[in-house]
Every structure is written in structure tokens, then in C-alpha cells.
Amino acid sequence: MCSRSLAGSAVMAMLLLSACQREQRESRGQPLAETAPTFVQLPSVLIAGSQPAPADPRGKLYEGNAYHISEGQRLFEQFNCSGCHAHGGGDIGPPLMDDEWRYGGQSDQIVASIAYGWPNGMPSFADKLTEQQMWQIAAYVRSMSGNVPKDVASSRADELASTPPLTRTPQQPIKGEPGGGLQGVAP
């Protein structure tokens, strides 16, 4: 009985701790060195045959925080990402709510995509957004494909309902990643 109650309290503590992390309103990104902000090195997917780099720890931090995802949702609208990507369904730009990621679906890879931009249309936001804003947008983009903890994303924005509520979006594991099916091969 004692071990069960210990396990129970451990689960409780973990639950409550995740509550702290989910609700933390950290509005000022960790102050970086005085020099210009450094970005992630070139996304590993482009260097053929190399081992995927370990995911940047900040990914989990931003994806597990409701405040950051809500800020990402606001920035996604204000910087007109929905102009090309719609609300994840894709328009001129590729869809963001499925499991196809040409340039990598992890948070740090999405931040690199936002920072550098890509040919045929994706502009570079390096001078338009701060690094924390880019991480927030990346976290929101991850929530579009259900790749964030269930209790973090808010169900909808006060906008026209174009996609199913985020709280009920099925998780789309990234193709080519472990558990995500093969890249480029129809499922």
C-alpha cells in the first residue's frame, strides 16, 4: 500500500509540476549574450546521411507552455502567416497540420525555417521577429498537428472556425521520424 501511495503522490507531484510549467507567464525570453542572437546550426535534414542533431531543449519549454502557444497564435495572425498557410490547412504555402515536413517538423527546425526562410515564397523573418517570438510561433505550429501536450493548446481563437478545435486535433507524428512512417512514401 505504501509503494502505491508513493507512486500516487509521485504522479500527483508530476501532474502539479507540469501545471506550474504549463502556466508560467515568462514574457521576457532568457536574456541572451549581448551579441546578436545565435540561431540553431543548419538543420540536420539537409546534410545527407548525418545523425539528426539532439533537439534544442527550448522546444519542450515552449511547447509545454500555454502562454507561449497563445502568443504564437497571436503572432501567427499578426504577421500574416495565415496569408499563405491559412490556419494550418495550407494555401500558397504548405499545410502545417499534417505529417509532411519538407524541412523538418521539430520546433528548432521550424524556428530555422522561420529565421532563414525558404526558396519559392517563404520570407526570412530574422530581422522581423525576435528569437523568442519565433519559438512561440513554432510551438503554435506544432500544436496545429497535435504535437503538443493535450492540456496546453487552447481550443480555438476568436476567429472563423476553419479547422477542428486544437484540443481535439489528432497527433500527426512526423513522417521519417521514429513512429512517423516513411518520408515521401504514401501511408
Binding site: 480555438r156 472556425a161 477542428p164 478545435p165
Partner: protein, 209 residues
Amino acid sequence: MTLPVHFTRDLSELPTHAFGTRSLTWWGVVGFMLIEGTGFALAIAAYFFLMSQEQLWPPSALPPKLLWGTLTLIVMMLSEIPNIWVKKAAEEHRLRDTRIGLVIMSIVVIPLLVLRGFEFANLNIGWDRNAYGSILWALLLLHTTHLLTDWVDTLVLAALMFTDHGSEGRRFVDVSENGLYWHFVVLSWIPLYVVIYWVPRMTQGGLIG
């Protein structure tokens, strides 16, 4: 140190159970019916409030299919016949009839639940599509929860009446109150039926607001 007493009447002959407003459970059931009735009334008021905000009603959706709602209404009206019968049987302490009546009432609800499933499938709008869809689903869900809870009550009462507790006076009072509550479930469906199925058709003609 309490006051000395002066004995007046002896009440040991008073009965221990009675029907209608004389029974305590009646007041409890009516209390909860008032609560749920106010909830229905306010949900319908919310429906009309949302309607007043829209130019076109129902917004970007066809009104719900008339067939299933009407069928539910008819079956509900029919279910009143065994319900009135079992309520009278309980109030006359006829144990055998009460048992049969409760079994019938338990069975009658099953087609209602099936019909309700079809109703949900034919609302022609998702609950997350717009405010109209949300309030429509809310109205139907509210009534369905009452349908389910009263069904479970009827099942439990039916089981209880078949045990040797069935012959106790208070159990007949419980059956009578359950019959009263079923009246409430049926009567509350009428305004909801009109609001869910007929109001979108009435407004279909002219633009409102």
C-alpha cells in the same frame, strides 16, 4: 432545565407515507424539476438571444431533419400512456401492475434513445461550426441527459420493485414521483422540439434582425 411539557395529541396513528404534495420526496422532485426547468428556459432564451444577433437564421446550415424529432415527440407522447397507468397503479398499491408498468417504461425509453441518436446525426450542423450549432447541440444534450438519468431511475426502481422491498409503501411513492418526473421530461421536450425543429423553418422565410 428544559421547560416542563404539557401533552396534547397522540400522533402514533398517523400514516408513514402518502402521495402527491403530502410526501416529502414530492417536494424534493419538484425542487429539482424547477431547477432543470429554469435551465431549459434559460437555454431557450440564449437560443433566441443568439438568433437576434444573426442576419440569416440558421446561419450557413439547413434546419435539422424534421422526421427524427417528430418521431421522438410521438413516441414520447405514447410513452405517457403507460406512464400514467403505472403512476395510478403505484398510487393504488397494485404491486403486480406497478412491476409490469415499470418494465414497460424501461423498455419504452430504448427506442427514444435510438431516435435521439438519429436526431443528433441529422442536426445538419456541428457543435463547433458556429454559435447556432453550439446552442442546438446544447439544447439536445441537456434534454438527453434528463432522458438518460430518468431511464436509469426507472431501471433501478423496476429492479427494486421485484425485490421484497417492493411492497413497502415508500417504494410506491418513489414510483409515483418517478412518473411525475417523466411527465416533466416529456413536457419539457415540447418547447425544445418547437425551438430546435420549427423556429429555423419559420425564420427561413424572411430575413430577421
